[in-house]
Symmetry: C2
Subunit: 161 residues, 2 copies
């Protein structure tokens, strides 16, 4: 496994996957996003072993992606709530959902996300605020950002190969 | 592990994660997106064991996310190229990268994505084409879509808890 010292440390995708790049963790986050917040509820919903669930929830708490608050005293039981850092994963989960809608299902989408104000289906796509238009993958380019510390990591995700 | 028969089969996120919900697979896709396409190049870049890499690349080929084409004859060697289905993962990878930029790095972004036409940094956010504005997580709601076949899967990813 690459470590924090590996040459790709500068990669934001790798940093992200170090925290949430695990199928169970992403499914747990999906559940918390949709309001399934208690240990037993998540366990029932996913059919995951208790020790695996406990380990992943503790990791999410350690990473400050979720926080746990008690909802009963005897015995103490907790709910898991998204922090701001956790809520900021919303676009990533929406993007994964959209791809599944488009490419993994035989028919139409089982769930639609819509704008509360007007009931229009929400789109998620790269957007240029200057040209005020969606940017297709073939029109996205990458450049070193101000935080680049290594020359080998000019990642160009989004650039059509 | 949930199977195709499990109650959450309708979930597009789960379907997606069944194909790419693995840290190595996502890092392999990141490499192919940025032009690292040959087995030995990917292996060197990620430091992944050959058998693990071969298994994951074959799975991506089986899922029609990448296709392999020979680039030399003796011995036969292949490059791995994204299909349309694979290129459609671009928003998901951009979203994961953006989250890492914002929440996992001590400083500024190591890589910036920009619009080829105007050099403006590309944004990726839920967007309402009716109101022509970005939609914050708290303004996203979910409803059953036309493809819903089970009543328990009204997933509301994107809805602020």
């Amino acid at each position: 496994m690459p470590t924090a010292d590996s040459p790709t440390t500068d990669c934001s995708i790798q940093r992200t996957l170090d925290l949430i790049g695990d199928r169970w963790t992403l499914l747990i986050l999906r559940d918390i996003f949709r309001g399934v917040r208690r240990f037993s509820q998540i366990q029932n919903d996913l059919g995951i072993a208790k020790n695996l669930l406990a380990y992943r929830l503790n990791s999410l708490v350690d990473a400050e992606i979720v926080t746990k608050i008690p909802y009963q005293d005897r015995p103490v039981r907790h709910e898991y709530i998204l922090t701001d850092k956790g809520r900021a994963l919303s676009p990533a989960l929406v993007a994964l959902m959209r791809w599944g809608d488009d490419w993994c299902l035989p028919g139409e989408a089982p769930t639609e996300l819509y704008h509360e104000a007007c009931a229009t289906r929400v789109e998620l796509q790269p957007w240029c605020t200057c040209c005020n238009e969606a940017v297709p993958p073939s029109s996205i380019r990458s450049r070193p950002g101000p935080g680049l510390t290594s020359s080998i990591n000019t990642i160009s995700v989004g650039v059509s190969p």
